[in-house]
């Protein structure tokens, strides 16, 4: 056994790869809300980008190691405490059997990924080890981690070289976010003013989506259209007068107006948006978004050659 969960915090789950090809059956991508941070933590353990890690939400979590092991973490937490000693994010670290690792509430950002060499053992369902809470499958018995859960290591406990994430690749955690977006199929419900507005996230947020309050137009005619496919990063205008941005556990089809779509290159940022954060959208064309994706993927590939957006 690799470690025991002493405290899960508000929500901790095992996450691995995104699911593909089953959206028509209502099975969304699931997987890490911030796949880039998870990949960075895995890299420092010598793992593939999609090796199963623990996704910790808002800190407040504690784990006890049962083996001497390398580990690393990346995401919202800048540091953690290992048996009382401060240890930094984005470095390959060493724990001794009996050490306790605790995470405080991060000053900004939401999710932190804890990785060990070989990854954590998890139940595979529909081709992925990721926990999908709405249907209760994958990960650790299809549920969120609880105090007392004992998690095994999945692969070999190799000792990784003492690496650190290069400074320019460390995601910057902030309380204000600029998200590049293209018009969605129902963009006509908005006005060009949307590109100048600042929206604020409410307390309604989970792994399915984020609510954005602000100066959204009231949809005419009730704001419904026949249900159609939706993907992570879709911005839906609801009759409540607010909008929702969809995260990896969101519904795969829906009938609210799909007004904007956060571009593929920027969807990993959605996993670090906290309640009360400020959001603005930067206007992109499909071709712009393609060039943005190529540029970001090329930049990241040197450090994470297997990372897929």
């Amino acid at each position: 056994m690799a470690l025991t969960v002493l405290k899960p915090g508000p929500l901790a789950t095992l996450q691995g790869s995104a699911r593909q090809g089953l959206r028509y059956q209502g099975i969304p991508a699931s997987g890490p809300a911030d796949p880039l941070s998870m990949a960075l933590a895995n890299r420092l353990c010598g793992n593939a980008s999609e090796a199963t890690a623990i996704e910790i939400t808002f800190g407040g979590a504690a784990f006890e190691f049962h083996q001497d092991t390398a580990f690393s973490f990346a995401g919202a937490a800048l540091s953690a405490a290992l048996s009382g000693m401060s240890v930094p994010a984005h470095e390959a670290l060493e724990a001794r059997r009996g050490d306790v690792l605790t995470f405080d509430h991060p000053p900004s950002g939401v999710r932190t990924y804890l990785a060990i060499p070989g990854g954590f053992r998890a139940e595979t369902m529909f081709g992925s080890a990721s926990t999908f809470l709405p249907a209760g499958f994958g990960g650790f018995s299809g549920r969120a981690l609880r105090a007392g859960d004992q998690i095994e290591r999945a692969g070999a406990a190799n000792k990784p070289p003492p690496l650190a994430t290069p400074a320019p690749l460390r995601p910057h955690m902030a309380r204000a976010h600029s998200l590049r977006a293209v018009p969605g199929p129902d963009f006509a419900a908005l006005t060009p003013a949307v590109w100048r507005e600042t929206f604020q996230t409410t307390h309604r947020m989970d792994r399915t989506g984020l609510e954005l309050a602000g100066n959204w137009p009231r949809p005419e005619g009730g704001g419904h259209r026949p249900s159609a496919a939706l993907f992570t990063g879709a911005v839906q205008l609801t009759p409540s007068g607010n909008a929702f941005v969809l995260l990896p556990d969101a519904q795969t089809t829906g009938g609210y107006l799909h007004v904007l779509q956060v571009i593929r290159a920027d969807r990993h940022l959605l996993g670090q948006i906290a309640p009360g954060d400020r959001i603005s959208f930067l206007s992109r064309s499909t071709e712009d978004a393609y060039q943005d994706l190529r540029a970001k993927a090329g930049y990241i590939a040197e450090w994470l050659p297997d990372f897929r957006f």
Binding site: G21, Y24, P185, A229, F231, R264
Partner: protein, 209 residues
């Protein structure tokens, strides 16, 4: 046939409009079988495909979809499978039934009789695991969406809006008024076949109140 209407849904997805249900699902199956798309998702009036722009640049993806959509396979009239489901419609299982029936000028019993007599067919799956969009509801029956979605309805809840039912396979949030609850499990990850329903399946409802 006329050139298919194709449009972008964000920067990494494209949709092709197909009005007829059988043709939509035949095209979706053909697109899925082509192996070119990450996900293929039929909606109410179109089929949407998602792609990785680093594997297929957007302009090439659009050209590929246009070519594939022009070769829509001949739609075979496959005899529809019929599945019988039991629906509870007591006050606990059907919190909106009395109100919706009254808004249609019917008693709950008369309202349910017209639901049961409707030629119900699974139009598409989607939303979340095991959810079924069911078409064929008596077009005279009207039900608007809830202004404020419920945070949580039990697994099996039957939502209704004008013209369709939504079968909520999982407990979770629901924006459609609830007129009953299906007794049979609609999704079970531990079964060999996790999904009870599929697009094109006809449904016979046995309603108990």
């Amino acid at each position: 046939m006329n050139a298919p209407e194709i449009f972008f849904v964000g920067d990494d997805a494209l949709a092709v409009k197909v009005a007829a249900r059988a043709a939509r699902h035949a095209l979706a199956a053909a697109l899925r079988a082509s192996g070119q798309w990450v996900d293929v998702v039929p909606g109410k009036g179109e089929v949407t495909v998602q792609f990785d722009p680093l594997a297929i640049p957007p302009s090439q993806a659009e050209a590929l979809l246009r070519q594939q959509a022009e070769d829509i396979p001949e739609t075979e009239d496959i005899p529809a499978q019929t599945i019988t489901l039991h629906m509870q419609a007591d006050d606990a299982a059907a919190p909106d039934l009395a109100r919706i029936a009254a808004e249609n000028g019917l008693t709950p019993e008369a309202f349910l009789a017209r639901i049961a007599a409707s030629p119900l067919i699974v139009d598409m799956m989607g939303f979340t695991a095991g959810f079924a969009y069911v078409a064929g509801v008596d077009p005279a029956l009207v039900a608007p969406r809830l202004d404020t979605p419920r945070q949580r309805v039990p697994a099996g809840s039957v939502g209704m809006i004008s013209g369709q039912l939504g079968l909520y396979a999982l407990a979770g949030p629901a924006g459609w008024p609830v007129i009953g609850r299906i007794a049979e499990p609609l999704f079970d990850a531990r079964r060999e076949t996790p999904f009870t329903l599929d697009a094109g399946v006809r449904i016979r409802l046995l309603i108990e109140r």
